[in-house]
């Protein structure tokens, strides 16, 4: 099995706020991420696909196809957007690294038909990231 990884970067803004919490509780739980004006990150997304190379092409999947899927599903939805207001898949969720990564996994998983989506790693900064794996699969 081969693991193939493609990396893209996008920039977006967000803030953390739970309407069911009091203002004090929001501030205590979310700290400066609770600032209602929002703040932004340069996100780095690494998408890893697992599969066997096609004997004719030598490819697990065509990188052009993967690039196009990432452009359509991730870049057009999230790049230079406000994640709290402009991404319907995140409606009602706090746009943490965990939740954004999970939304990206759910968007990509059905689109990857050559090979299988193995891992989605989303960096919110160089020192903070979330990984998604197929549920029940052992992380490699």
């Amino acid at each position: 099995m081969i693991l193939l990884t493609r990396k893209i970067e996008f920039s977006a803004s967000h803030f953390y706020h739970n309407p069911e919490f009091s203002p004090e509780e929001n501030l205590r739980v979310f700290g400066k991420c609770n600032n209602p004006h929002g703040h932004g990150h340069n996100y780095t997304l690494e998408v890893t696909v697992a599969g066997e190379p096609d004997p004719a092409t030598g490819m697990v999947l065509d990188l052009k196809d993967l690039k196009e899927i990432l452009e359509r599903e991730v870049m057009q939805r999230m790049d230079h957007r406000h994640l709290n207001y402009e991404v319907p898949e995140l409606a009602g969720q706090i746009p943490t690294c965990e939740n954004v990564a999970r939304v990206i996994w759910n968007l990509l998983e059905p689109r990857i038909t050559q090979g299988k989506l193995h891992r989605v790693r989303l960096y919110e900064s160089a020192d903070l990231f979330a990984d998604c794996y197929r549920n029940g699969a052992k992380a490699v």
């Binding site: 919490f21 965990e98 999970r102 790693r121 998604c132 794996y133 549920n135």
Partner: protein, 155 residues
């Protein structure tokens, strides 16, 4: 929460420390042969990067597996404070007998972090330099595969 992927949170921390690779189980000559310049009796140091991955359910109220402040405080207390700007061989009890290779550092740091109360520790990955990294997920260590323990004895 069974639909959708398994989610892990990863966080990177840094500390700087010195060490010397040396074991009383080997002669001076053998230590030099096995460890090379890492055996220099004055020791040497690295800027270590410790990558900690934890898993668990994402709390719908907070969107988080674990509050970062809780994880940061725990890792700082258990690892960064006792390791940063220290001589590992002398100042961390675990390395008085065990060679402080980064493999063994992974095992020691995993043991210190495995009881994090807010999420399950999945993995510790340590970069000793930008070119060397080591990972440990808490499985059993086979004694004879540990570097610095060529006789295969449990430390």
């Amino acid at each position: 929460m069974s639909r959708g992927p398994k989610v892990e949170l990863g966080r990177r921390y840094r500390f700087a420390a010195s060490h010397r690779l040396h074991t009383a189980r080997l002669t001076e000559d053998e230590n030099w042969r096995v460890f090379g310049k890492c055996n220099n009796p004055f020791g040497h140091g690295h800027n270590y990067v410790v990558e900690v991955s934890v898993s668990g359910d994402v709390n719908p109220a907070t969107g988080m597996i674990a509050n970062l402040a809780d994880l940061d405080n725990f890792v700082h207390r258990e690892v960064i404070e006792p390791f940063d700007h220290r001589y590992l061989n002398e100042e961390v009890a675990a390395f008085r007998e065990t060679v402080p290779t980064t493999e063994n550092l992974c095992v020691e740091i995993f043991a210190r972090l495995k009881d994090f109360p807010r999420a399950k520790l999945e993995r510790v990955r340590i970069e000793e330099t930008g070119n060397n990294s080591f990972e440990y997920s808490g499985d059993t260590i086979v004694g004879d595969r540990q570097r610095g323990n060529p006789e295969g004895k449990r430390p």
